[in-house]
Amino acid sequence: MIDFSPNESQAAVAAVARSYAKEVLEPRAATLDRTGGFPHDNLAQAARAGLLGINVPEALGGRGAGVVAYSLAITETARACAATTVALCVSNMVAEVVTHFGNEDQRTAYVPRLCRGELVVGAFALSEPGAGSDPGGMRTKATRTDRGWVLEGSKLWITSGTDAGLFVVWARTSDAPGTRGISTFLVPGDTPGLVRGKPEHKMGLCGSTTTAIDFEACEVGPQALLGEEGRGFPVAMMALDGGRVGIASQALGVGLAAVEAAAEFVAGDAGRRGQQWVQWALADAATELDAAQLLVLRAAWLKERGQPFSREASIAKVFTTERAFAACNRAVEAMGAAGCDEAHAVERGLRDVRVTMIYEGTSEVQRIVISRDIMRRFASG
């Protein structure tokens, strides 16, 4: 039966995330944005707060709190610091993917350490220079040897690439056409031949790192293979679909924080408070983010129940990221020159949120997914 209330345990996780955000993230967020670099301490504290394995079974060191709780928590942390949040999102997904596709050895070797922060964070190495949205074009190769596999190739746009302690790496293990020759590997960050690139200089999310990773004759053992050989594509799809829920939750948090900050600023500014255009801009932003949250939670809820949620995740992602960007723009407009000054967090939010329309599948990719689904459902009009 229709019910939109979070249950107690979901609310509890959200509360933990909220106080972590307030106490740990918020005081440091402006400085982190300015100085850049990787937020080691923030993530160590996230591990202590149990936020690195929210949807991972307790037996493996996680919270076992489910996807809805995960989404609520990510929205809370993103209100304070979107940069730390993206590292947090990805690490949570790495832990989920290893839990889901790993064998017993892989699970016990990595998941508890990911949850405890001992591997700093996890990272995905999927994109390549020529194949952003096109896994079929992947060129990184894994060649089987006596002692396991040798990886060769270049990956791009890797969140936490500077510091992650574990990489989930996709590579081609056969010449089978399209995506059928792709396999997945678990590669610890200190593996020789895994060469971390320099962090990209970005518009926003300056407190997270994004790098290339080169694999230069990078040898891994036979136990590095995650799941079956040639079955890497479904792993990527799970990582991406789940990732979309996370990124949508992140964008939502940035948008909500911007609208709230703008409303507070406006309330203290006699010249703006009485302007209908300001009131309406904030009202529309709040409405759109309300709808966005429902879309995000619905996708999370479906995933939690084990039902298909790919289409819903795409809808949640494209709607939430675009509406959150619009909300940040409206917030800045409502505040005027102050909104464009780094002294106010909405300025950072505007830069941070912009990438959510790009990573984990651009808005364009989501629209392709959604329109394919429509064609299927309404084939005959």
Binding site: M1, A267, L294, A379, G381
Partner: protein
């Protein structure tokens, strides 16, 4: 947390869908043209309980939750926006107002079951803008005469007035704005010819004129002077039902456009294979999902007894806006054919536009939202 309708409610929705496919959708174009919905159809829907969706079963209603009632309104709107608006206004405004008032006015209870047939729906005649600008917007006066009232004045652009059997009207009285239930055949009551509206043409919008109409005090709704306060609750319900109508219009248009795009060929391939068309469909579908979740959430809040105003206003602004944009895109996807009345998308666009502008338009809803934000900030 749960996003699914109960199975029972899904079954009920499927039944209404079938009814719509058989008895509504094929005729919606004719009714639009004729600017009227046949009484027989209204009767048939009455037998399904659609004119008393949320009334308890022992009072002749269908006894449905607000969530389920909205789901059925959405189904109706996917087939015919005018019919859906008529039913929504009757259930969520006229009937809801009388039902709320009947708690303290037992004489009204008898009216409720009579209103459930749909033969003569109940029109709710609040003047546009009255909630924002107060009783100054009311162009009807009520003068006490013993145990009755004399009403004079007019209410303009009243949805359903042309077919209504009863009217809820708002009048300026000595104690302030006061509401009354009036029979359509009351002496001195005059309904104009149906207006030629842009959309919802079959919903019988007309002006209502009152000249010395005598109304017994027992048909007063709520306390004298309190009518606009009471109306705020009803307006929220009506906004919610408008949101459900918008969802149905948009879904219908999306289905039409998607089907058409897969059949129609250009440059030797279905136009659905062009990215520009895919994008339009994807944006319609995304806007629709957002609209529907906002609507269900608001309906659920209502069922939970939580304050409805803000949630309903959000659902209404987003859903009606998305419906206007989406129906226009659906028309565009149909090209020249979409501009003809052979295809239902032009009617959906007109209905959506009418819905968006009706009863103060989204402007009223946005004011509710702006006030709520201002209030939270102190």
């Amino acid at each position: 947390m749960d996003f699914d309708l109960d199975e029972d409610d899904q079954l009920l929705r499927d039944t209404v869908r079938q009814l719509c496919e058989q008895s509504v959708r094929p005729h919606a174009g004719e009714w639009d043209e004729a600017r009227a919905i046949p009484a027989a159809v209204r009767d048939e829907l009455g037998r399904m309980g659609l004119w008393a969706l949320r009334q308890p079963e022992d009072e002749g209603g269908a006894g449905l939750s607000t969530v389920t009632a909205c789901a059925l309104v959405e189904e109706l709107a996917a087939a015919d926006g005018a019919l859906a608006m008529l039913i929504a206004a009757h259930n969520f405004a006229g009937l809801a107002h009388v039902a709320a008032a009947s708690a303290s006015q037992p004489a009204l209870a008898g009216e409720l079951s009579a209103m459930a047939s749909g033969q003569r729906p109940c029109a709710w005649a609040l003047a546009e803008g009255a909630l924002g600008s107060g009783e100054g917007a009311l162009a009807i006066t009520a003068t006490r005469q013993g145990d009755a009232w004399a009403l004079d004045g007019e209410a303009r652009h009243v949805l359903g007035a042309a077919v209504a059997g009863r009217f809820v009207v708002f009048a300026r009285a000595e104690d302030g704005p006061t509401a009354f239930l009036i029979d359509a055949d009351a002496g001195g009551l005059h309904v104009s010819a149906p207006l030629r509206t842009h959309g919802a043409r079959a919903a019988g919008t007309a002006h209502l004129g009152l000249q010395g109409v005598r109304v017994p005090d027992e048909r007063r709704l709520g306390a004298p002077g309190r009518a606009l306060t009471d109306a705020a609750t009803i307006v929220a319900l009506r906004e919610l039902s408008w949101a459900a109508v918008a969802c149905g219009l948009l879904r219908g248009a999306l289905q039409q456009a998607s089907g058409y795009a897969q059949q129609r060929e250009q440059f030797g391939r279905p136009i659905a294979s062009f990215q520009a068309i895919q994008w339009k469909l994807a944006d319609m579908a995304t806007g629709l999902e957002a609209a529907w979740l906002l609507t269900v959430q608001a309906a659920w809040r209502c069922d939970q007894g939580r304050p409805l105003g803000e949630a309903a206003a959000r659902a209404r602004t987003w859903a009606t806006g998305a419906a206007v944009r989406g129906c226009s895109e659906a028309l565009q996807i149909h090209g020249g054919y979409g501009y003809t009345r052979e295809y239902p998308v032009e009617r959906a666009l007109r209905d959506a536009r009418q819905l968006e502008a009706t009863a103060g338009g989204s402007a009223t809803a946005r004011s509710v939202l702006a006030d709520a934000i201002a209030e939270r900030l102190g």
